[in-house]
């Protein structure tokens, strides 16, 4: 890891009349996996959407590779090499799995032009996608849709992967599949920013961690330090976490 790939400095975001983010500071080190934790409504999704330009920061800077991208439109942000998996997965249900993947691969004019070796690698991570390749994505189960959503984000190499709650509502076996997939992704040195409520999942994967509350980052550090400090966990994550112990 060498320095920050992404850094938010004092980011404020308003949604309509509501002031949601109150000066977010967040650093995502290059090559590592950063987990963004925090209770429901803390502002995690809003932070990710602000990075993607889906909400506009009203104040502060969003630095990607040192350049302020806060004012850029979403497609331009994506073209810098940032892939985004939204909380609702954003799968195009009328399109087949193949067509979903073909759209995610900007360099390919059609599915046949997707890099074959990379596709095989993705099928290795998520075997269900090979099986349902020609099926409309709307027919997939929740877990399979999540796999497709992540697969789309990695169909071409990207510098930064932003993933919002990839385990939400998934069965334990699928969560395990996701853990393995992200482990494999980490081996490829992709920088990842992951929002996660499942602390087991977060702890298994995270290098660094930031905890949000009420539109601010209230704690940032290494995952190892947080994982080893139950008192800190209690204070930061409270009862939401107790269930997992």
């Amino acid at each position: 890891m060498s320095g920050a790939l992404l850094a938010l400095e004092g980011v404020h975001t308003h949604i309509g009349a509501y002031h949601i983010l109150h000066g977010v500071h967040l650093t995502v080190p290059r090559g590592g996996l950063t987990v963004l934790l925090g209770r429901n409504g803390a502002g995690k999704t809003t932070t990710l959407r602000t990075i993607m330009g889906l909400w506009r920061a009203s104040h502060g800077r969003v630095l990607f590779e040192g350049a302020d991208i806060a004012a850029r439109a979403t497609p331009e942000v994506a073209r810098l090499g940032i892939a985004y998996v939204p909380e609702n997965m954003g799968v195009f249900s009328d399109l087949t799995v193949e067509e979903n993947m073909a759209l995610a691969a900007r360099g390919a004019r059609r599915a046949a032009e997707i890099d074959r070796a990379r596709l095989e690698w993705i099928f290795g991570l998520f075997p269900a996608l090979r099986k349902f390749w020609l099926h409309p994505a709307g027919l997939l189960s929740g877990g399979q849709k999540q796999m497709l959503a992540v697969a789309r984000a990695i169909v071409e190499p990207r510098k930064l992967l932003i993933v919002d709650e990839p385990t939400k509502g998934l069965a334990p076996a699928i969560v395990q599949n996701m853990v393995s997939a992200f482990r494999e992704l980490k081996r490829t040195e992709t920088t990842i920013l992951l929002v996660e409520q499942n602390f087991h999942f977060a702890r298994a994967l995270g290098d660094t961690v930031a905890v949000m509350d009420d539109g601010r980052v209230v704690h940032a550090g290494t995952m190892a330090a947080l994982a080893g400090d139950e008192a800190l966990q209690q204070r930061l994550l409270g009862l939401a976490l107790a269930a997992h112990h």
């Binding site: 993607m52 889906l54 439109a73 979403t74 497609p75 994506a78 073209r79 985004y84 939204p86 609702n88 954003g90 195009f92 249900s93 009328d94 399109l95 067509e99 073909a102 759209l103 995610a104 900007r106 004019r109 059609r110 070796a117 990379r118 690698w121 099928f123 290795g124 991570l125 998520f126 075997p127 269900a128 099986k131 349902f132 099926h135 409309p136 709307g138 027919l139 997939l140 189960s141 877990g143 399979q144 789309r152 069965a171 076996a173 699928i174 395990q176 599949n177 393995s180 997939a181 482990r183 494999e184 081996r187 490829t188």
Partner: protein, 339 residues
């Protein structure tokens, strides 16, 4: 890169399920009308006329429904492009009188294709200006959109009156396309066959684009989840302008075909057809090109059957059709899954 060794959870293969029920309504309507019409030859005549009319309406409506699906823009000014196409046809075909008077089918078709090409080019160009001047300032503001696009329609109609005059202009069919041919005992007007062939070709082209090209996939994806298309790195604004221009050009093409179908053109043609196409895209499911295809065929067939069986309620019949469809499927025949 190697894959991790994780046994995938057991998964059931989902059934590929295509919703054909709405499509079946088209033959059902045709069959239901047969005993009411009584005479088989008359039924054939009406059915061919209905399909021809339906395909023309589909050509006009397809762009409108995609424009709505992509950007939530309801363009009540779409009719301008229909009128523009129809009036351009009077000029082009008038100027090619030698070609249209010729008994050679090839010369006739060449004249029609020339009129279509001019109509599509001009309507597309005007569409681009319309998008920039009239639509773009009111994105996301539905009430303003309705008012200003209707205003655009009125201004367009007045401009057409300035150029072509306020009166009806005859648009006679080229010589070789006049009259009917007998299929069995049924008289089928030649032009309607031409309209069906052209309509099916345009239908095939639209569906080829939507299902086989990247731009088409992006359109379908954008209709469903605009934000995600942008997050994948595509500029949906450009895509939308492209769809708007293509939709305007298609409306111009439909205007030529509609004008020839009626064999006369009035400045109010746009407003008249507007009602039909809005019924069609609502029946079909806003944003669904496939739905507008089925909706257009239903509307075209019903208009012809009702026009024959009960001319007094013919106008009303399509509204009734819309009400019935919406009672069955409140989002239209093929609802578009929105985020």
């Amino acid at each position: 890169m190697e894959a991790p060794a994780v046994a995938p959870a057991p998964e059931a293969l989902p059934k590929v399920r295509t919703d054909l029920l709405p499509l079946l309504l088209v033959p059902l309507l045709a069959l239901a009308a047969a005993p009411l019409v009584g005479s088989f030859p008359t039924w054939v005549t009406l059915t061919v006329a209905g399909i021809a009319m339906g395909l023309i309406i589909f050509i006009i409506a397809s762009g409108l429904t995609l424009v709505f699906g992509l950007m939530d823009v309801l363009n009540f000014g779409h009719g301008v492009f229909i009128a523009l196409g129809a009036f351009l046809a009077t000029t082009v075909l008038g100027g090619m009188a030698d070609w249209t008077a010729s008994q050679s089918l090839a010369a006739n078709l060449a004249a029609i294709f020339a009129a279509m090409a001019v109509a599509m080019a001009v309507a597309g160009a005007v569409g681009m200006a319309f998008e920039r001047v009239i639509i773009r300032p009111v994105y996301g503001q539905h009430l303003k959109q309705i008012l200003i696009t209707m205003g655009g329609m009125i201004v367009g109609e007045e401009l057409i009156k300035v150029i072509w005059g306020p009166q009806a202009i005859p648009l006679p069919l080229p010589a070789a396309l006049r009259g009917a041919i007998l299929i069995g005992d049924a008289a089928v007007e030649k032009y309607r066959i031409v309209a069906v062939v052209i309509g099916l070709a345009v239908f095939a082209a639209i569906f080829w684009v939507l299902s086989r090209t990247k731009a088409g996939l992006l359109i379908r994806a954008g209709v469903q989840d605009r934000e995600m298309v942008e997050a994948l790195g595509y500029r949906i604004r450009r895509l939308f302008v492209g769809v708007f221009v293509a939709g305007s050009a298609l409306a111009g093409l439909g205007g030529v075909m509609w004008g020839l179908y009626q064999q006369s053109v009035i400045p109010q043609i746009g407003a008249q057809v507007n009602i039909l196409i809005f019924i069609v895209i609502i029946i079909g499911g806003l944003g669904s090109a496939g739905g507008s295809f089925v909706g257009a065929l239903l509307v075209g067939l019903l208009a012809n059957y009702a026009g024959f069986l009960a001319p007094k309620v013919a106008l009303f019949s399509n509204i009734l059709l819309m009400v019935l469809v919406l009672l069955w499927r409140p989002q239209g025949l093929y609802p578009v899954a929105k985020r």
